[in-house]
Symmetry: C2
Amino acid sequence: MITYKEAEIRSEVIKAMAHPVRLMVIEVLKDGNKSFSELMEYFDVDKSTLSKHISVLKVAGIVSSHKDGLESIFGVQVPCVTEFFSCVTAVIKDKIKQQQCCIRPAE
Amino acid sequence: MITYKEAEIRSEVIKAMAHPVRLMVIEVLKDGNKSFSELMEYFDVDKSTLSKHISVLKVAGIVSSHKDGLESIFGVQVPCVTEFFSCVTAVIKDKIKQQQCCIRPAE
DNA sequence: TTACTTATTGGCAAATTAGCCAACAAAGAA
DNA sequence: TTCTTTGTTGGCTAATTTGCCAATAAGTAA
């Protein structure tokens, strides 16, 4: 079994992914590094909001960044997050399946 | 790319895992179904607190349950959550590695 | 029925997270 | 230097999450 302390550390990483904007940032970065302004195009949020979301991902160790002149370039730090979501998808698919068996057919 | 709506759905599942108690519940249930009182032994929280955490996992579709007499029995609904954490572990290991390169050796 | 055991739900206060605007910092251009 | 562009940080409110206690089911036993 894992200790509570270990669970806390893991949950910090998972918590960092537990937001739609941050999930999409990871999805976008999977296909290659992007600048901040490129990432901005995907979202309808204030730049400060996106910047803080990216910061959360950086602190968690999921995303890395470097400066290139005026621009900030971001990338996925740990490649396996790419595969991370297959299980999430499986959970969602299963949930839909479970729900279907309970949907009452139209009379 | 995934849509924002899709990201919201995924983040609901991930959010359900983003708590140390809920992570440990999943870890414990990986090794087989457990009753509520068996799960209680692992945590120093009120029974209402644990019950609500389990409820979050059920709503997310990660955990299933059934009644057996007076007892509630819980199990992992989607087996792949077992493998789910290998990437989280990778992120943590990488983060530790990154930090080590920055630790100043004792003088 | 009454009593007991097991778990869930309601309600509330404390803690955390999210998102906006404004101010600031850093780097290049004029 | 001053202006501009790019992104981060501070500060604040709103929304969400957490966890406790108390009250309530839902079974079982006497």
